[in-house]
Every structure is written in structure tokens, then in C-alpha cells.
């Protein structure tokens, strides 16, 4: 029970060495009234077979991306994951290790994180990246707090076309940090950049934005320069295979969600936030950073570095309170990128682009209309035909084996009736045509 190896005899020997008669005696420092007088009210233990059967039964109550054809994105995507990713990250040497505080015992994970930092910096076109964050939402919030510190301003301008949940997390952090969040309006599927005026700590845009459309990062950069603020870009790592990277536009911070790189959708967690910035901001950056150095014998070695920013050393003066990161998922993303290579990643991105366009073509043929005409990547906002309403359409599609798109009206009053549909490289021609046919039949 509890994976406890002790035999009765060993317990007796250990108690004798300690000098007490029973395990109960060891709890003498806990005052009697605070000790539980009854067992925890929890279900009785299950053996392994019963446990796995119980969990499989619960799991079978779920619609998944395997039971249904998934046209839902909105921050979590059904991307192809090569089998080798899970095989490698399941190795116990990685899976059961801790934060690499002792570099001699942890060279493997340290090097893997160094490689992850390199891959993220390359993809985003930035100078440096950290060892990962909890998810895109918290990475963005931390980027905004960093911008406030660097710029000495407490006002953030965030595009309304940044993921609604990311903006919600930002507001939650801002509320307790005394930061004001101003939303930048949108029109025709793109953010309306502020035209100078009030100074801001940062301008935050997402690209592709929440509506799937490609934003004009040059305009965002001009707006950030005009307001004396940092430019924070929430980027998609797969789209970055095709798009000119934010670093080329002069972005100060690039954050994003790495789930699409080899990580399970997992009902939204754990996720993989990434955070890249300019070299001169390294000491202001939250999270862990691994650096290369040499050891006593002159060999290349890796170690956590810039540790004096961190909570366990600086305590209340730390740049952030982060201790845990997402190292195992950073490893998954690195393996994923390594086995795809530049050509494979471009092909994934091109297949998303193609499939999303094929999906729009099929849907418009059955009467759907695009909400905006801007170029899009993997997701697109459409108005479905008929008067069913998006929520009801999704409900009926579920019965036909489709996981329908995101109901934009649930987050944007101004987009009521719009449906954000997504097609990744995992969608097939049959699924795309099947979706269009089902929409046609359900809305007839």
C-alpha cells in the first residue's frame, strides 16, 4: 500500500534506532486535539486493475479528438504528434528528475533546456528565451508585469483580439498588481493600433490573432514606438514556420503557447508557455534560464544561470515568484521540432493553411460566409447559414461526430453569430467535406 517497502521487522528495527515504541509516538509533536480522530472520508483503495478500469470508464464518458473530427481550436490544437515524442519524454531519467539544481547530476535535462531556449529563440527571431512558463496566458501576464517594471508605467494596451482567456488572466494579475489594462479595439478582423497619445508600458498583440487573422506587426511596432512602450507579441509556434518572425519587426518580448509542439491537448493542461526577449532584458526576465559554461576540467557544461533574479535567492525582490516550469513539455517540444526539422515544420504549417482554406471553401459552398476578408492561417471566423445559432449547431454536430468551432458570441458581443472554425494538418478531406455536408443538412 502506498508503494511502501517496509516489512514489520524493518519497522521495528527503525523504531528501536529512533528510540520510540511505535509510529504513533513519532507524532507526539502534533498536539492531541489537532490529530485526526477518524479516517479521511475518501473512497476505499482500488487495486491497479480496478483503478485502471474505473478511470477508463470515466474517460469513455468524454468526446475526444479521436471519437470526433475536431474543428475546434481557440488556443488548443489537434496537431500531429510523432510517436517518438512520447517515447523519449517517458524515459524515467527525464520524467522522474527534479529541477536541475545539481548540475553534475542533471547535464541531460540542462542541455535539453538549453536546446529548447535555442529553438524558441530561433523560431521567434529573438535573441534569448527562458526555460518555459506555465502557459501562454501567464507568460503574457508576466511579460506585461516585466514591461511595467522596465518602463515605469502601470498601463498596458492589449488588443481585444488576444485570446479572451489570456486577457482575463492578465486582468486578474493586473488587479492585484495595480496595473491598468486598456483594450485596443478591432475592425475588419485586425487590431486598431493606438495612435500615440497616452504613454503605455506595452502594446500586446496576438499573431495570428484570436480570429485566426494575420495582424500587421509593422503597424504594431510603430504604435509601440509612438507610445514609448514595449511590443509584446503572442505568437503561434507553428505559424512561425511561415511568417516573418516578430523579432524581425523589433518585438521586445514574444510569448506563446507551445502545446501544438508535441504536447497533448489534455483538456487544456498542462500547457507549455514560452517567453523570448532581447538580450539586454535577460536580467529582468522571469523564469529559469540555462547557460553553457565549462567545468573544473574545461569540459562544456550547462548550469542554471542568472539565478540571482530568482525567488529562492532574492525572495521578495525576485523578478517573479516562479519556481516550477514546464521542463518535460519543453523537452516534448524540442523532440517534436527536432524530428520534424525545418522542412517538416513548414509542411505542417502549409498543411494547416491549405486545410483551413479547403474548409472555408467547403463551408462557403453550403452557404456560410466569412466574417472578415483578411488573410488567415489555421482558423477562420464564419457566419454559418440558417438561424440555428452557433451553440445549437455545435450541439447537433456533436451527435454527428464533429467537434464544432468556437462560439465567438460567447466572448465578443460584437461577433454574435460568428463561428471560429479550425482545421489543422490532422483533418482529412473526408472530415472537411463531412463537416460541410452536416452543416448543410442541419441548417437547411
Amino acid at each position: 500500500m502506498g508503494f511502501i517497502p517496509h516489512t514489520d521487522r524493518e519497522r521495528a528495527e527503525m523504531l528501536a534506532a529512533i528510540g520510540v515504541d511505535s509510529i504513533d509516538d513519532l507524532f507526539e509533536p502534533i498536539p492531541e486535539p489537532l490529530r485526526m480522530a477518524r479516517p479521511l472520508a475518501l473512497p476505499a483503495a482500488l487495486d491497479e486493475r480496478a483503478l485502471l478500469r474505473h478511470l477508463e470508464r470515466l474517460a469513455s464518458d468524454n468526446v475526444t479528438m479521436d471519437t470526433h473530427a475536431c474543428f475546434l481550436g481557440a488556443g488548443v490544437y489537434d496537431h500531429f504528434v510523432p510517436a517518438v515524442v512520447d517515447a523519449l519524454i517517458s524515459r524515467g531519467e527525464f520524467l522522474t528528475s527534479y529541477t536541475p539544481y545539481q548540475p553534475e547530476m542533471s547535464q541531460g535535462m540542462l542541455q535539453a533546456i538549453y536546446e529548447f531556449q535555442s529553438l524558441v529563440a530561433t523560431l521567434t527571431g529573438m535573441e534569448i528565451a527562458n526555460a518555459s512558463m506555465y502557459d501562454a496566458a501567464t507568460a503574457m501576464a508576466e511579460a506585461c508585469l516585466m514591461a511595467c517594471e522596465v518602463k515605469g508605467s502601470r498601463v498596458i494596451g492589449v488588443s481585444r483580439l488576444v485570446h479572451p482567456h489570456y486577457r482575463h488572466v492578465l486582468r486578474t494579475y493586473a488587479e492585484s498588481s495595480g496595473v491598468e489594462v486598456r483594450e485596443l479595439a478591432h475592425a475588419e478582423g485586425a487590431t486598431q493600433m493606438p495612435d500615440g497619445g497616452a504613454p503605455l508600458a506595452a502594446v500586446v498583440v496576438q499573431n495570428p490573432n484570436f480570429l485566426g487573422c494575420i495582424e500587421d506587426l509593422s503597424a504594431a511596432r510603430e504604435a509601440s514606438l509612438a507610445s514609448g512602450s514595449m511590443l509584446i507579441v503572442v505568437a503561434d509556434p507553428i505559424a512561425l514556420a511561415l511568417l516573418r518572425p516578430p523579432g524581425d519587426y523589433g518585438a521586445d518580448v514574444v510569448v506563446g503557447e507551445g502545446q501544438g509542439l508535441g504536447c497533448s491537448p489534455g483538456f487544456g493542461g498542462p500547457m507549455l508557455g514560452f517567453f523570448a526577449t532581447r538580450r539586454e532584458l535577460a536580467r529582468r526576465m522571469p523564469g529559469r534560464i540555462v547557460g553553457a559554461t565549462t567545468d573544473l576540467d574545461g569540459r562544456r557544461a550547462y548550469t542554471m544561470t542568472l539565478r540571482t533574479r530568482e525567488q529562492d535567492i532574492r525572495r521578495e525582490k525576485a523578478t517573479s515568484n516562479i519556481c516550477t516550469n514546464e521542463a518535460l513539455l519543453a523537452l516534448a517540444a524540442s523532440v517534436h521540432l527536432a524530428v520534424l526539422g525545418p522542412q517538416g515544420l513548414r509542411e505542417v504549417a502549409a498543411a494547416c493553411l491549405r486545410n483551413a482554406h479547403s474548409m472555408v471553401d467547403a463551408l462557403t459552398q453550403v452557404g456560410a460566409r466569412r466574417a472578415f476578408e483578411r488573410p488567415f492561417f489555421r482558423e477562420v471566423a464564419v457566419r454559418p447559414p440558417g438561424r440555428l445559432g452557433v451553440a445549437e449547431l455545435n450541439r447537433r454536430l456533436l451527435q454527428r461526430g464533429f467537434l464544432g468551432g468556437y462560439d465567438l458570441g460567447s466572448a465578443y458581443d460584437e461577433l454574435d453569430g460568428c463561428w471560429l472554425v479550425c482545421a489543422t494538418e490532422n483533418r482529412t478531406r473526408e472530415e472537411i467535406d463531412g463537416l460541410a455536408q452536416a452543416v448543410a443538412e442541419l441548417t437547411r
Binding site: 502506498g2 470515466l58 506555465y134 488572466v169 516573418r244
Partner: protein, 498 residues
């Protein structure tokens, strides 16, 4: 699996970084083909600036497998051997729970699926919240925080919202013992609070007299770890909570050390108002080289209205749902619902152990720690040498004073004996600290071997101190130059540092 004759991080051959192994034109895995004629990308992205170069490594699948297998051999995990890092609870990570979490019925779930179509997932979260609330002795729980420090952040946001909801705007300070984890003051600062340290008394417990001096109308909360970071139970905890409550403040429990208390004592009954769990410590989910974790929190009824949205609820018709209509909620702290797959692992852990099994976890964690204390007490000073809970803090200060051998040297020498070192130099109030947490899943034989090594190193410090100071000798690298790492700041390939 790695070679069984090489249980430690013994991959001595250095491994080039990925980009150095890249061969132009080499391909690995081929992704699915596009469903339609591709044509020039510019036609689908009119007017969009495209990328001209993408200098990622080009490797075959086998190249990648060999690379990461080589790296894994240069890394040490619980599967390789004893990992007694204090405050980290490096217990065995059950493989059945891994197997469960990888089921497509969990791993392939989209978080925005209509609730009616993910009843199994919502039921699991609902039940886990109930389990955690029961273990804590509190009213409710949420798995939304991604890590312990994230749970602290969320808790302090809720504390702030609670005071403000009562029109009490002047509570600007948070009191934290000087023995606390660094995340506590960092989280308090992140939430805009002034941090005021509480000193520890001669017994290694929070000084209640100092606490009474500090507590007042400006106290938002006190953050306490119980058992504290010396591995000692804060026996005056009920009194402390009463003092804080009388002054209108709330009390937060850093639950990093819950492994000592499972089924034995409950923070809610001690007077705590809110606490975090580390599912990756107490409930055996893997640490993964630093994450992902799960920093679920439990709250008493005064804080329940402030929980982050969405809250998993059970409706009258026995359907589980996500409730967003919570007017007092602090908001949201994660993109979705938190580290759900770790919740599956934690749920599996609790279901496989049951109430009696969880209690045995705490009892054996405490047995093992006290056994370490008894075994090494002759060779090392133990500043508070009395019954401890799940961990024991020893000190190398005698070795330092007499032979110039520091805690760091002892730790490095332990590597040559095949063990991961304990936590060093923490808590800050013990000089030359060696903080040892054996956990319940280690056998007497393993602990004996570890204690024998520690005792041998103490003897070696006397006879051959320079040998200990020069350790380790058997690891892939030896004492990387951290000062040079900061100076060079070579944090990626292709940077000026290389």
C-alpha cells in the same frame, strides 16, 4: 530503459547540441499531407510577409532518438536512485498513474468541448476537488494553479479580494517566517504586499511573541509552512491562527510539506484559511525535470466565493458543469482549468491508496526521516535534534569549522557514492544546511546505504578534507563555473558566447 549497470548519471561521453548534429537536407518524421493542392503559399497569404529562413536542426528520427537517449544517460531521476531533496518530496511516481493519464480519453480532450460531452473529465475534477478539500479539512478546492508558487499567488489574490469585499482596504502586509520557502515572499510581493519576516525561536518554531508584535490592522495574511522547513511541526499553530484571526487577518498554509500530515492532521482544523498542495510532491505526479506540476489550492468557507472561474459544479440533474457566474471570483489564473492531466494522476494516486494508504504514507515518511536523524546524528550536527516530521535538517558547520569542508562539498561527494544530494543552504536560518527528505517509498536498505555514505564522508572530511573539497570525481562534469556562465551568458546556440 538505460543500462542497469549504470544507475547514475554516468553518461560520460559529451553529447553535441542538436544544431551541431544537423546535416543539410536530412529529414526526420513526415507530417500528414495537405488535403488539397498546395500551390504557392502567397496565394493563400496575400500581402503577408513570409519568412525567408528557418535555421532549425535537420536530423533523422534515429539521430533524434540517439541524441535524447544520450542526454537521458546524463541525467539522474528517482528511477535511477535515491533523491532526498528536502522540501521536494521525491517519491516514486507510480506507472499505473502515468498509464491512466496517457489514455486518449483524457489526453485527447479539448478544453472547450461543451460540458455535456466531457462529463467524465468534469466528474474527475469535481471528485478530486472534494478529495483535496477533505484532506485539507476545508470547504472547497481548485486545481487551476499550475504550480505551488502559482497557488500561493492565487491564494493571496483571494485574500486581497476578501478584505476588499469587506471594505477593508488597509491590509497591506503579509507576515512570513524567516524559515519560509523563497516563493512565499516572492508571491506576496507579486500581489503587491509588503513582506514582514517573523523570526524563529530557539526551538526552530515561529516566535509567537514576535508574531503578536507584528500582527495588526495592516495584516492581510500570515503565510506558514507546517511542518515548517526545519521539518518541525508548528505546535502552537492553533494559537497563531487565533491571534491572526483576532486581528482580522487570514492564515495561509504552504502545503509543500503535506506528505507529513496526510490523514494524520488537517490544516483546516489547525485554523488555516487556505493552502496549496503540490500534486507533484504529495500525490506522486512526476517532477519532469522541473515541471509540469499542479499547485491545487483548498479554501475554507470564507474564501470559497473568491475561487477562480470556472468552478466545476454538480447540478441538480446530476450533470457536471463549469460555472462562470461567480460575482466575487478573483478571475482566472490559467488559460484553461490547470494541469488537468496531473489532476488525473493525482486522482489515480488518491484512489489507489484510499484513506488508510494515505495515512500510511505520512506515517512512513515520518518514520524514514526520524530514522535518518537517528543514524546521522553522531556525524553531523542537527540543530533541532528532536522528533521531526517528514524531513530533517542537518548541518555541516562542524566540518566547515574544523576541516574547511562545506555542505556543498558533502553534497558533491555524495554523488560519488551514487546519491543525489539533499537540499543545500536551506532553510536560511541553519548554517551549512543539509535538508534531507527521504519519503516513504525508500527502503531501510537504501536509507542505510545513504546514511553510511554521509557518515563516511564526515570521516573523510577529517582524514582527507581536500578529497571531499574536490568532489565529485565520477560525474559527467565537475562543478560547472557558474560565475563564468553569468558573465558569458551563452543561453542559446549561435549566440556570441560560442
Amino acid at each position: 530503459m538505460s543500462d542497469s549497470s549504470a544507475p547514475q548519471a554516468t553518461g560520460h561521453r559529451s553529447e553535441p547540441v542538436l544544431i551541431e548534429k544537423s546535416v543539410r537536407g536530412r529529414r526526420g518524421v513526415r507530417p500528414p499531407s495537405p488535403q488539397g493542392p498546395l500551390g504557392p503559399l502567397e496565394e493563400m497569404l496575400p500581402g503577408v510577409e513570409l519568412r525567408t529562413d528557418l535555421p532549425l536542426p535537420e536530423l533523422s528520427e534515429l539521430d533524434v532518438v540517439r541524441h535524447y537517449t544520450a542526454l537521458s544517460r546524463r541525467n539522474y531521476g528517482i528511477d535511477a536512485g535515491f533523491y532526498p531533496l528536502g522540501s521536494c518530496t521525491m517519491k516514486y511516481n507510480p506507472r499505473a498513474n502515468e498509464c491512466a493519464a496517457r489514455s486518449p480519453g483524457w489526453a485527447r480532450l479539448h478544453p472547450l468541448t461543451p460540458p455535456a460531452a466531457v462529463q467524465g473529465a468534469l466528474q474527475l475534477m469535481y471528485e478530486l476537488n472534494c478529495f483535496l478539500a477533505e484532506v485539507a479539512g476545508m470547504a472547497a478546492a481548485t486545481i487551476q494553479p499550475a504550480a505551488g508558487a502559482h497557488g500561493e499567488t492565487l491564494s493571496l489574490m483571494m485574500v486581497r479580494a476578501y478584505h476588499r469585499s469587506r471594505g477593508d482596504m488597509e491590509r497591506t502586509s503579509v507576515l512570513i517566517p524567516d524559515s519560509a520557502h523563497g516563493t512565499n515572499p516572492a508571491s506576496a510581493a507579486l500581489c503587491g504586499f509588503q513582506v514582514r519576516p517573523i523570526t524563529s525561536d530557539a526551538d526552530g518554531l515561529s516566535d509567537t511573541r514576535h508574531l503578536r508584535e507584528l500582527v495588526g490592522a495592516d495584516t492581510a495574511a500570515v503565510m506558514l509552512t507546517n511542518p515548517n522547513t526545519l521539518g518541525l511541526f508548528e505546535s502552537r499553530i492553533a494559537e497563531i491562527c487565533a491571534v491572526v484571526h483576532d486581528a482580522g487577518g487570514l492564515v495561509y498554509c504552504d502545503g509543500a510539506n503535506m506528505n507529513a500530515l496526510l490523514g494524520v492532521a488537517r490544516p483546516g482544523e489547525m485554523g488555516f484559511d487556505v493552502m496549496h498542495f503540490n500534486l507533484h510532491k504529495t500525490f506522486g505526479t512526476p517532477h519532469g525535470g522541473g515541471g509540469p506540476g499542479c499547485g491545487a489550492i483548498a479554501v475554507g468557507s470564507v474564501l470559497e466565493p473568491f475561487l477562480p472561474v470556472p468552478v466545476v459544479v454538480r447540478r441538480g440533474n446530476a450533470l457536471y458543469d463549469l460555472c462562470h457566474d461567480r460575482p466575487l471570483s478573483v478571475g482566472r489564473v490559467h488559460s484553461f482549468y490547470g494541469a488537468f492531466l496531473n489532476a488525473v494522476r493525482g486522482y489515480a494516486y488518491i484512489r489507489s491508496l484510499g484513506p488508510d494508504g494515505l495515512r500510511e504514507v505520512a506515517r512512513h515518511a515520518v518514520l524514514n526521516a526520524n530514522y535518518v536523524r537517528a543514524r546521522i546524528g553522531g556525524a553531523y550536527e542537527i540543530p533541532h535534534n528532536r522528533l521531526c516530521m517528514h524531513e530533517v535538517v542537518a548541518s555541516a558547520s562542524r566540518l566547515k569549522r574544523r576541516f574547511g569542508v562545506r555542505a556543498m562539498d558533502v553534497s558533491k561527494r555524495l554523488m560519488d557514492h551514487g546519491f543525489h544530494p539533499p537540499t543545500n543552504y536551506f532553510p536560511l536560518i541553519v548554517s551549512e544546511a543539509l535538508m534531507i527528505e527521504p519519503t516513504e517509498t525508500e527502503s531501510k536498505q537504501t536509507i542505510d546505504a545513504f546514511c553510511d555514505a554521509l557518515i563516511a564522508i564526515a570521516a573523510e572530511a577529517e582524514t582527507d578534507p581536500e578529497v571531499v573539497r574536490g568532489a565529485p570525481y565520477s560525474t559527467p562534469v565537475r562543478r560547472p563555473d557558474e560565475t563564468a556562465a553569468v558573465k558569458r551568458l551563452d543561453v542559446r546556440w549561435g549566440s556570441s558566447g560560442q
